[in-house]
Symmetry: C2
Subunit: 339 residues, 2 copies
């Protein structure tokens, strides 16, 4: 066996404002053997997610910031090449926070087996993984979406948004998506069964466009983006509406605290609620949710799309594309082939 070379990306410096390639430093080094209790994983699929921008900042949030020099954070699906942990065998498919690299030596405790026999392994990073669970708990637990209500989803063509909208349809809601191109909007209505979709770039008066798409107002606003899309959406909320604050990608690269219309008075006169959450708040209920998500997929009621970028070398480029809306559905980097 030839020596394996690990290719990884580490944080070169905390970016200020819009992140660019200078934040990432590429490194190569020989792969080391696993120690006792450790597992050597070959990364197959790497998940590239907007929340990583938040960790590329020295400001503390609900997760620790990355440190300069650290491997860029990321979850992936990989294959066990060598195991010194009793729970894993060579060849197992595993899920773990390996970071942006092609091989990872991980403590066995930080890995879990991927058991999706009939389905694609990469779904463990998308519709049957963190994004799918985020959509599920955000919509149903934070948003308390109920049959007959209008659910408006921003970032609706992304991994979380597209799943949230489909779950809302399954639950009998009227669902409207906001996305960044006509093609994405068409996918939402024709491909996923959304009742309507609005390309926010095509409407100078977005509030009017969303108002026309939501004739009964908005009961649940599932927000992945923030910014002016949210301004328009929040202007349409009904009495007792819920704003699910799932992502704010419009602001992740902001240098200064962004300003916009104040919303507390809107919450007050509508007796409405806005709530931020992270999916791990619901960790104990992941198994139940997963059963439902898998069933809906098996029934063809929940569909997943992936945008795939080839090669770990292109991970930064893939990541930067998130902020330009380059992806439809789950954004993945294909890092390696199964052996």
């Amino acid at each position: 066996m030839t020596e394996r070379i690990n290719k990884r990306w580490r944080l070169a410096a905390y970016p200020e404002g819009m992140v660019d390639e200078s934040a990432f430093q590429y490194m190569e080094a020989p792969v080391l053997p696993p120690g006792d209790g450790q597992v050597l994983v070959k990364v197959i699929w790497l998940s590239v997610d907007p929340y990583v921008r938040g960790r590329m900042s020295p400001v503390k949030s609900y997760v620790e910031p990355m440190k300069v020099g650290q491997t860029i954070a990321g979850q992936s699906v990989g294959q066990v090449l060598e195991s010194r942990h009793p729970r894993f065998d060579k060849g197992d498919l595993v899920l773990g926070f390996t970071g942006w690299q092609s091989y990872a030596v991980m403590p066995g405790e930080e890995l879990e087996k991927v058991a999706l026999r009939a389905l694609k392994a990469s779904y463990a990073l998308g519709v049957l993984g963190m994004p799918g669970l985020t959509a599920y708990f955000g919509l149903l637990e934070v948003g308390k979406a109920r049959e007959g209500e209008t659910v408006l989803v921003s970032g609706a063509a992304g991994a979380v948004g597209s799943t949230a909208g489909q779950i809302a349809k399954i639950k009998g809601c009227m669902v409207v998506g906001v996305a960044g191109s006509d093609e994405k909007a068409r996918w939402l209505t024709e491909g996923l069964g959304f009742d309507a979709a609005v390309n926010y770039k095509a409407h100078p008066d977005l509030r009017e466009a969303l108002g026309a798409a939501c004739p009964n107002g908005v009961d649940v606003y599932f927000d992945n983006v923030g910014g002016t899309v949210s301004d328009a959406a929040i202007g349409l909320i009904n009495q007792k509406a819920r704003i699910v604050v799932c992502g704010q990608i419009a602001h992740y690269n902001a240098k200064n605290p962004p300003r916009g219309p104040r919303i507390l008075a809107t919450l007050l006169v509508n007796r409405a609620r806005a709530e931020g959450f992270i999916v791990y708040d619901f960790q104990q209920r992941f198994p139940t949710a997963m059963v439902e998500l898998q069933r809906w997929m098996a029934e063809g009621r929940l569909k997943a799309r992936e945008t795939i970028i080839e090669g770990i070398e292109n991970a930064p480029k893939a990541f930067l594309g998130l902020f330009e809306g380059a992806n439809t559905g789950k954004l993945l980097v294909k890092v390696g082939e199964m052996e």
Copy 2:
């Protein structure tokens, strides 16, 4: 008996921007006798409340807007002079939405008896009325304040704020108030037992001042005011914080939708919640709350203060004073004497 003259204030025109006396029109007319099922009430105490500004606008909110020509909305405590309703007798003290006038003929169904033997009748408009219940449910149900948490209250020297802060103390919270003068701040700490109070007008860097007063951050922000006070407060929230949106007096006179720092990203990274409510959302539980409020008053743990303006003629002046922070505690107009 000489003819009784009703003095009333009606809406002259919808004010634009800051309300002034031109919005109010004074009228006198003979008092009419009650019809079948009606009650003639002599108004003794009139409650003057910020929410009335919201109703002086043609924009629909959770309540119907007032119409031009209509008597200005207000709740009062009065005395029954004549009853043609079986539930009321002459001399009874009653509570009802009589509006800003000295006599009112009301359907008996819209009145309730005031039964506060040992206490002042005016408390039915304050600590043992809508403001007290608003504080109670806002803090405990919307805010879910728990022992050991830090509760920050804006508009803390007002009727709702002063009660919310005292209930938080009773529940074992660390309580900090924000008010508009040193004298009010002193009353909060020395008179009501708040742990700290900040005169927002005395601090150019309010966030720093509030940060010093809340060394453990803010778990519940009970907001009566909005604006820059809220900006500073929201900058200090902890993980899983609750923002109770009870009032936004800083914005009630705004001509244009006010702008300020966006808060959705703050809610997201803190997994926090902001929620508007009105007290009537909890109407079915008023009796239970009232028992607790009365007990705390009897035990001396809950104190009430009133600012009293004499004469229905001065009701508009009293109302305008609300927006300048002229009142400490509950603002009342003393309209008439008991007969």
